[in-house]
Amino acid sequence: MSEQIDQALARKYDAGFVSEIESETFPVGLDEDVIRRLSAIKGEPEWMLEWRLKAYRTWLKQTEPEWAHVDYPKINYQDISYYSAPKSMKDKPKSLDEVDPELLRTYEKLGIPLHEQEMLAGVAVDAVFDSVSVVTTFREKLEEAGVIFCPISEALQKYPDLVKKYLGTVVPRGDNYFAALNSAVFTDGSFVYIPKGVRCPMELSTYFRINEQNTGQFERTLIVADEGSYVSYLEGCTAPQRDENQLHAAVVELVALEGAEIKYSTVQNWYPGDENGKGGIYNFVTKRGLCEKNAKISWTQVETGSAVTWKYPSCILKGDNSVGEFYSVALTRGKQQADTGTKMIHLGKNTKSTIISKGISAGYSNNAYRGLVRMGPGAEGARNFTECDSLLIGDKCGAHTFPYIESSNPSAIVEHEATTSKVSDDQLFLCQQRGLDPEKAVSMIVNGFCKEVFRELPMEFAVEAGKLLEISLEGSVG
């Protein structure tokens, strides 16, 4: 089989097209003036600008982290444009009819029709194009339930107190290098608020699209689930195929108040670069959730894109009996590199966490799981279960596991299981002998390997995720 794999790792990236859209883009470069201009365009309150500037000053003093198992040339932050928006968005279209049809076409091509009648029933979408939100669907229906779902730039104007109360409470401004940068220059992203006791009547999702060249995407998402509420949220991301690397440094903060539940799913398909590792997105993301008493946060991610991924969706299990979950599929091929995992910080009594990580490496790629389970002194009776499986396709790729366990409470129980397996010649031969072509065979074997994670995804997206793996693996075997 290795011979077959050696043959052209010709890859196909369906979302690699560029939309011809006139944009207003800042010249490259970053200083306090850029931040002031950005904040002014967004019409932000004064405190927000101050917050950004403080973050910027912190960032200047920080250094880029180097501990991850990834390798990429130094990023020149002065070569990036920090704001780009379609010109047509300047007048803030009030309805879909006023939105530039080329924008709508872009999303249609990506399989995300924004006309409500054509959409997946029961899914509301916020579509973010470069630095702005293009449209948010089903808003009225959500408003009836008291749910707020809007671009964060709009929330800063309409619900400044709510944003101010929670922004930076889970991921502080200066948390890490990329989070500080994001805090200084974030452009758009989604804001969600679910009122007390409300079960959000539909799935919420945000679809991020990078289009402009030389721009970074710095989105910020804040989801607050008030006491006893429930929400399921999904994000998807794609970018055109370009030879230059582009930076995506997002921050996502989740707040689950007492008894609330947040299910956060990601299907990440940023452009991964070509087979020689040219181009592709640097995906440096900080995602963290805070659980109060009896609350639950569940992260599910399917990561197939990006040239380099650095991402550890985490849970702070502060309240007693709170629950954190992390289900991950990370697929790397070509020269992709991924260093991803989670942190489960157990503070409260009887807190529980589950980590299921499935790493698949093909081609010359490197795939690392990095996970921290910390049992604080107050974590009486806390439990963690970690399962960490790696699947290798071919013999030139790598899988690495870095589990860190820190326990300051003897009554806490931490369990860790890890396996590494290969798509074997025997399996491939069996499938082919039963009439399947090698590509179908590999994608079926990989899908089987990921089953435990896929079943955590919302129904509509489980199918999508399966297909995505199929496309991603096309050309992985000869």
């Binding site: 031969f429 499938c431 082919q432 002998q433 039963r434 074997i445 899908n447 089953k451």
Partner: protein
């Protein structure tokens, strides 16, 4: 159906098949017996086109086509089926998904429409019952945690569902008790319709009491050294392979 002429094949650097001839006509059942390491499994792999098994010399035609030029899946789609001696597990992929993909890949190759889920399920359930496997085997991962006997029955279930033109059974009887043997044999016999052909590789004459062969061949050191009718199997049963003139160890593997 199948014509093998002067076949020589090697695995890695070692030539295993050394000048094998065999002619199988539609509807015939050929048993192949022989000591361990004779090359029985190798023959099955060479015929099905497994990577790493290289043909050095000879010709094989399958229903008029040059079999040796076809990809593994093309041979399968043309109606060649191999029941494995050691079926492999595919964790997380249910038997049902696997067989649905398989059945539909075969249908597609024949230019037929895919089966609907309902049609497929009906067929799968019937096949499952025929080999005495509980229906929940359809939901379980392919061979995942199956016992040796269950794996063998699962292979026969696949055979029944795929209705191949030529099936090669590689020791489908080994490790089975008499009841399971009967099940496997019934599965095969149900497919005998005067058109489909079978190569039954076995160590024991026992299976041939249930699946009556038209011909029996003895394979030793990469060649067919003796051919005959069903009575040849009985001879072998009585006298072993000692008459081949060499020490044969590890017979009962």
């Amino acid at each position: 159906m199948l014509t093998i002429k002067d076949l020589h094949a090697r695995v890695e650097e070692k030539t295993i098949i050394k000048g094998l001839n065999l002619e199988i006509k539609p509807g015939e059942v050929h048993a192949i017996m022989g000591p361990n390491g004779a090359g029985k499994s190798t023959l099955g792999y060479v015929l099905s086109g497994r990577e790493g098994y290289e043909v050095e010399q000879g010709e094989v035609t399958f229903n008029g086509a040059n079999l040796l030029e076809m990809e593994v899946e093309e041979r399968a789609q043309a109606g060649l089926f191999l029941a494995f001696q050691y079926p492999v597990e595919i964790p997380g992929v249910s038997n049902m998904e696997f067989m649905k993909e398989s059945v539909n890949a075969m249908r597609k190759a024949r230019g037929e429409d895919e089966l609907s889920s309902a049609e497929f399920l009906k067929k799968a359930k019937a096949a499952c019952k025929q080999v005495n496997l509980p229906l929940d085997f359809l939901k379980r991962g392919v061979n995942e945690g199956f016992s040796g006997g269950e794996k063998k029955r699962n292979e026969i279930m696949q055979l029944i569902m795929l209705e191949p033109k030529l099936a090669i059974l590689d020791e489908s009887d080994s490790g089975l008790d008499v009841d399971a043997l009967q099940v496997v044999a019934n599965g095969v016999n149900s497919q005998r319709d005067g058109k489909r052909s079978f190569i039954v590789v076995t160590h024991y004459q026992r299976l041939l009491d249930f699946i009556e062969p038209d011909y029996v061949h003895i394979l030793a050191q990469g060649k067919i050294v003796k051919s005959g009718g069903p009575e040849l199997a009985k001879e072998v049963e009585a006298s072993g392979y000692a008459w081949l003139g060499q020490a044969q160890e590890g017979e009962e593997a």
